[in-house]
Structure formats: C-alpha cells, structure tokens
Symmetry: C2
Subunit: 180 residues, 2 copies
DNA sequence: TCATTGGCATACATAAGTGTATGTTGCGTC
DNA sequence: GACGCAACATACACTTATGTATGCCAATGA
C-alpha cells in the first residue's frame, strides 16, 4: 500500500484526516505513529516536537484552503449558483475538516489567526460577487459578511444535513440579497 | 472563601467555567480537583466516572441555556433591537461558553444532540419574531434560519470582536429582512 | 567502496491522567 | 453516645502520552 518509507507529507496528510474524523485531540505522536505502522522514532525524526508538528499541520491546512472550493464557488458568474453553494456548504469534501479546524481554533491561538485570514479572504470574495451583480458598495459589505457567517454557522451546527435549504428558498434569498 | 464542603453543583459550576475558559479538554478530574483544593476522592464520590461527569455537565449547561439571553432578546417586541442583539451576539456573558460547547459538540455525540435542541428552539423563536412583524410564513422560515446561522457563524469566528456590524448596517439589514 | 545521511527502532526517564479500594472525619439523629 | 452517612483523603495499579539518547540499516554519491 504505502511505500515502506514515509515523508513529512505523509504525516501531515494523515494529520488532516484524523483531525477531520476525530478532532484536534487526535493530533498526537503515538496514535498517529500506530496508524502509520511505525514508531514515534519516525515522528521525532520529522518534527522537533508536538507543537512544531501542530504548526506544520496548520500550515498544511492553510495551504490547501487558500484556493479551495468555497472560494472557487464564489468566483462563479451565476450568483444564484454561487450563493447556493455558499449556503449549502456542508460535508462537500472539506467542510468537516473546516469544522474541526474551527473547533481547534477555539483553543489554539495560531490556528485562530490562520482561520481569520482565510475568513477575511473569503468574505472579500463574496463581496466582489455581490458587487458584480449590482449591489451597492455598502450593502455588499454588510450582506457578504452576513451570508458568509450564515454559511459558517450552518456548517457548525451539530447536524448540518438536518438544515438544508430548498432550491426554492435559495432562489428567493438570492433575489432578496441582490435586491431584485 | 468556599465552604469547606462541596456539593455536586460546585463541581458543575467550575466545569462550566473551565469549559468556557479552556475548552472541553479541561474537563478532567485531577485538574478540576486541584482548582477546588480537594483530591479526586471528592470527584469520584460525586460522579461515577468521567463520562458520567461529562453527561452531568451537558445537562447543567442545557438547563441554564433553556431560558437564556438569546431567547430573551428574541422575545423583545422591537424587531430592530432583537435582530441587533441576535447579530451582535458575542462575548455578552455566555457566548464564549457557547463557543466551547459547540466545539465540544464536534467530538461528543450527546453534546451535539443537546446543542441541536437548543438551536431548533431558538430558530423557532426568531421565526415567530419575523412573523409578528408581517413577514410571510415561508419567508420567515427561511430568514430566521439564515439570521440565526449568521449569529452563530459570527460567534464562531476566531475573533468575533473584529467583526461587528454598525448600528446603521443593522438598521438596513433589519429593513431588508422585514421587507420594509 | 565507503562515509554520509535519511528513515526509522529501541530503551529509558518522566509526567499526567483514570479507576478502585479502603481509611478518616465531622455531623445530625434517634 | 453509638450509628450511619456524606464528604473527603490516601495509596496503589494501570494506561497513555512526551521527549531524548542511541543504535541500526539501506540507499547514494564522491
């Protein structure tokens, strides 16, 4: 399956997987080593300490989230589709990881800083989307925030899949937000 | 300071405090016992096990959150004030605890269930507020969700205080949501 | 071919936690 | 004034984790 020798990225990829599935409490050397079927000797060969490892995990996540699905969907031209994607944002490959990272951010300052950067970037993207569709500058500033917060808030519900909006609801909401 | 003898509630009150300040990782017997200046003997006298303690903590929180500030603010008659309170919802005594509980819910099924109950109740409250202000039934159903999600999403930002809406922004948003 | 290096194993010391069994103390109560 | 119980303390066995020191081995390039 895996090559007999591992690189730093193999540890980081597993870390994101475990973070997604079991939360930040799973980011420790021994359990991860067992999953990779090696000993902690390998871990401490690749990383100076647990904290150094955690920083690397954050970096790995931030890298993968810079040009991610959310942003891509918001770049779309069709505002209806874009807002639909934003509001329905859920387990669509990555949302569960985001949930875990956001949870981690409540107890880890460096994670919090990285998350804020990504939030700000995405809000700006949503704002541009609204502007391109004729919303005034001040309204776009407010509504992009509220829409993004709603997407995050829904994703952070215990069971996001219990709270889907119908296509029809999205349509009306889009009209409302675009002032049409 | 504290009486020399403690009751179960003293443990639960401290638990909520530590949960708020340091996250669910702080909910363990030994550190809490140290803070109460007793040994774990007291802990295992009041609670069967760690898991039983955790369940008690959840119940304690749910009890206190059933008639809480968010709901109270949503009961207000002035829709502007109510929506303002909802959207600005932040460290206003309790939001930080909510952040921690929501974070906990991502890794603990029973917490997730309790949080969902409270979410549903609050959304219904917000919906009634919109209905009382002339919003149609279907619009109220959608908008109450989106508004509540936005409040939760903003609260879950790493630094909610960096994302305040101005009074003017709230006013315009209220008009939009009430269709006026 | 041989010294170096990357990738890991092994062993040890230490820390922090759980759970359990049992002893102790104070206090109401009959 | 002995009884019983609530509220602890103490001691022990166990588990799971970190960090560090050191050794092994296979590949590789001079």
């Amino acid at each position: 399956m895996q090559p007999p020798v591992l690189g730093t990225d193999d540890w980081l990829d597993l870390a994101l997987q475990e973070l997604k599935d079991h939360g930040y409490g799973a980011l420790r050397a021994l359990p991860l080593a067992k999953k990779l079927k090696v000993t902690r000797g390998s871990f401490y060969h690749h990383f100076e300490s647990l904290e150094a490892f955690h920083k690397a995990v954050i970096g790995h996540w931030a890298e993968r989230s810079s040009g991610d699905l959310i942003k891509a969907s918001l770049e779309a031209d069709d505002p209806q589709m874009a807002l639909n994607d934003l509001l329905q944002l859920t387990l669509r490959s990555g949302a569960q990881l985001e949930r875990a990272v956001r949870s981690w951010a409540t107890v880890h300052p460096l994670v919090a800083i990285e998350v804020e950067k990504i939030d700000d970037a995405r809000i700006k993207t949503a704002e541009r989307l609204l502007l391109r569709n004729g919303v005034t500058k001040s309204a776009a500033a407010t509504r992009s925030k509220v829409l993004y917060w709603a997407a995050i808030g829904r994703m952070m519900l215990p069971f996001p899949e219990h709270n889907l909006l119908t296509k029809n609801e999205i349509t009306k909401l889009t009209s409302l937000m675009l002032g049409k």
